[in-house]
Amino acid sequence: MRVTVRLFARLRDIAGAGELAREAPAGATVGAVWAGLVAEYPELSPYEKSISCAVNADYSRFTATVADGDEVAFLPPVSGG
């Protein structure tokens, strides 16, 4: 299946794009999508402990399962205000 990965702020800078289309096996979790990205962009690895994630623009968990066509977003620590 295919998912759209969204990256923001420093994560976007590291990957060089804010939106990536990636293949994921059926039943893959958000965590597995992240692991695939880290394999591709090792510089993302230090963010493992501090990022949060969203699926289809709703807060999610790394243990959540993703479906074909989902938008999976990884969010570095936020700094609005």
Binding site: F8, A9, S50, A54, A57, L75, G81
Partner: protein, 157 residues
């Protein structure tokens, strides 16, 4: 009428934010405006660029309005956050809180800005004299009750 919550690239209009609130039975309105500051951590800041995950950031603001209503049932809240490039002194966030009595309006407003900094997916890219850096604050997790309690304590101090 302005929406109660918004993520926008347009300059913020606090008066419009206040007008968006239903003031039936209201005795006090507080406004909070966050500005782009000319210094941060000893650096001379030149300008900021704010980036947001717009769809989720709007949901985050709506969630903060819901949380605030649960805590202060008579308070009405409006929050607008701006994104894109902003110069020193420009408003990046505006909050208006209306309440029958002033104490709850002040508390709700303080709670809202603390929660924005905790859970809303917006990031500051700081351009300072000598470089630029992404500011990274809190790991966004609306279910983190410890963070929520901390925001409440600050709001009610």
């Amino acid at each position: 009428m302005a929406p109660l919550t918004a993520i926008t690239t347009a300059p913020l209009d606090t008066a419009a934010l206040v007008r968006a609130l239903d003031t039936t039975g209201i005795g006090a309105v507080t406004t909070f405006i966050g500005l782009v500051r000319d210094h941060n951590l000893g650096r001379r800041v030149l300008h900021l660029e704010y980036e947001a995950y717009d769809a989720l950031a709007l949901r985050g603001l709506d969630l903060i309005v819901t949380e605030t209503s649960a805590q202060w049932p008579t308070v009405r809240l409006a929050i607008h956050h701006r994104t894109g490039r902003m110069e020193i002194g420009e408003a990046s966030v505006a909050i208006a809180a209306a309440s029958p009595h002033r104490a709850d309006a002040f508390s709700a407003s303080r709670y809202a800005i603390e929660r924005i900094k905790q859970i809303v997916p917006i990031w500051k890219h700081e351009y300072f004299e000598g470089g630029d850096v992404w500011i990274e604050g809190a790991t966004a997790d609306p279910d983190n009750t410890e963070a929520r309690d901390q925001a409440l304590r600050i709001a009610c101090a």
